[in-house]
Symmetry: C3
């Protein structure tokens, strides 16, 4: 059983510092989502300071959304320090499969570091598993969407990958799957309109970092709770858009608003999660 | 005749991937505008992946808003791949004329690559034409604004420049001009309040990329349709601000909202465009 | 006496160009705040253009929020040009004290350049003063908050630091202090909810740049007026959130909206400022 209320309370009371090494497209949204969830963000990527910054922080998030070769060594240096200190590390392999640089970098990162959670869409997760992946840039290929028909297969895949990597695997899509090698959750929160906002995946990885930072011994529950919360916020944003009018920019404002407003009991009530 | 409805429908149905190599100031707005228009953005600038990323995409947008020398070669490599594959390439020469680095870089880019569309304000377009330009940073100099008096002259200038460069020229300002060597459109959509939002020009270039990606054989019509759409969205945002209250941040939210909400028939009805 | 109305009018009528060398997390908000205040932003950091860009501008803002070593020389080159031309230079030492790179860089910048205004939270300002500072990443340590009890001591500290650096010192927190070596102001505008938005400090430094650019002979008054304005905007945003609902993303939209809407007389009326 995931104790949603306690986990969210831990974020709010602990205000964990989250070191986010992320892309320049969605970085501001990631910072604001970390704050909305109750934690504090810090962004730093110069190789001469990442170790020190990581050492101040309760969690590290590595997102390769606008990968450049200059920061790969920074990722590894920060990650090694987090691993050494036993702080949770989250990987968001944005666009893995879309270029050799991204796929190879993810391979290198996974060889060098221990990740507590890896979050991606199915195309990205397939790419890092070494299985044949098609990709549509930073979006999942349509054939990779987890549906009711493919759910069992996807759950098995996620558990196996968690077993071989030692990381909790979070595969987001119409149905989200969050799994370690033993347990898996299927999460049906969210709304399709979220795909029309840039950065919902990055924001989720940032929020996973906030939950992990406050609940460091519970990476599976942290990833699941953050995934439910992001999805629930998307539902609330969509409802607000339908009620009050608004397009995709309002939807994003309302999504981040909702993350800052959801209480522990609302999260518990609203989570559409089942164990698989 | 521009078939606005068909062109916008092509964006929505084709969901073209747009590779945007752009500045770190307005990149998030560009990503969201590409999504709002119905396309999908991907941002990548490392020289070791830009060719691969471009090859996945239906269009490439190059914006030099926060130019740094490390990415100039990436621009050229991506652009050559797009040219080779026959994919549309859009240039936004932000701040051309404001520094030698920017002016020289634009010259180099234009010598190395074939651009389907070049979009800038009049100061930037004058700078790239080699004519004497004054500039006010990233804004057009007041003396460069296209007005009713200077419209004929500006149209001739745009047509000539299109003839010499082989690119559709889009000059944005109080009256926008979009021209190839034969045909020109004057567009009177938009509202002066848009000048109080950072990045409307960058967002327009991104939207031109989305239209070009979905309508690759029609760069003139793509640039004109995107320009009408951005201006119409600005009018709608301004009206909403006047009706509901709000300052410049609300204006930007409503601008991007409107882009996501404008239908083909609204675009057709609302376009204030005339052939010159 | 600070003539709030005249100072704000000078921004609106002069539309000063502000060269902002800032971090990639909050850069878009900084650009929009500069516009909201009535000025114009330009962002540029390549060493081969910063001198030229600075020479076009009325003020320079240097913010080390996502410091990387490649831009330190650009900061110095731009700063020297601004100093040579007598243009105001503002420093925002984000995260000073959080890493040696940041602390050492600030020391180097202060040795190389003359800053008109330095704005930070108390932990950052302590770090640059060489006194023992604790830090919580980019946030002030709780023990460093200026309160009613520590106000006199903090005012004396700010005046002394201004005397030794030659810069106006702006220390922001629950009570803000803005001081030169002779005079100090305590400012009680603002609302605690502002700490849940990423970048309010960066935005303030950008707004200080706008005020300094338009009022170059009045750095103390510029820093104080901008601080009052940002705080007042925060109060208005918070009231709007309480009245209309909304979370942290709406709060940021309303904050920037308010900056664009506050008139000179509202600023004068709303400023909660006292000389110390």
């Amino acid at each position: 059983m995931i104790d949603f209320e306690k986990m969210l309370r831990n974020v709010a009371s602990g205000r964990p510092l989250v070191h986010a090494m992320t892309n320049y497209v969605t970085v501001n949204d990631c910072a604001n989502v970390i704050l909305a969830g109750g934690a504090s963000p810090i962004m730093a990527d110069d190789i001469d300071e990442v170790e020190e910054i990581t050492s101040l922080c309760s969690a590290l998030v590595i997102n390769i959304g606008t990968l450049n070769k200059r920061t790969i060594d920074s990722f590894i240096k920060a990650g090694k320090e987090a691993n050494r200190l036993g702080r949770p590390v989250v990987l968001d392999p944005v666009g893995a499969g879309a270029s050799s640089l991204r796929t190879d970098t993810v391979t290198k990162l996974m060889e060098s570091l221990k990740f507590d959670v890896i979050r991606g869409n199915m195309s990205e997760i397939r790419a890092i598993s070494g299985s044949c992946a098609r990709t549509r840039g930073v979006d999942a290929d349509d054939s990779d969407m987890v549906t009711i028909e493919s759910l069992d297969e996807a759950v098995s895949f996620a558990k196996r990958l968690s077993g071989s990597t030692g990381s909790v695997i979070a595969i987001t899509g119409p149905i989200d799957i969050v799994a370690d090698s033993n347990d898996a959750y299927a999460i049906r929160n969210g709304h399709e309109s979220m795909s029309r906002i840039s950065g919902t995946g990055c924001m989720l990885a940032a929020l996973v970092g906030a939950f992990c930072g406050a609940n460091p011994d519970k990476p599976l529950h942290s990833a699941a709770a953050a995934t439910c919360m992001m999805g629930l916020a998307g539902e609330m944003a969509n409802e607000s858009n339908e009620r009050n009018g608004g397009g995709v920019a309002s939807l994003k404002i309302r999504l981040i608003d909702s993350i800052s407003l959801i209480s522990g009991s609302e999260l518990k009530e609203g989570a559409l999660i089942e164990k698989r």
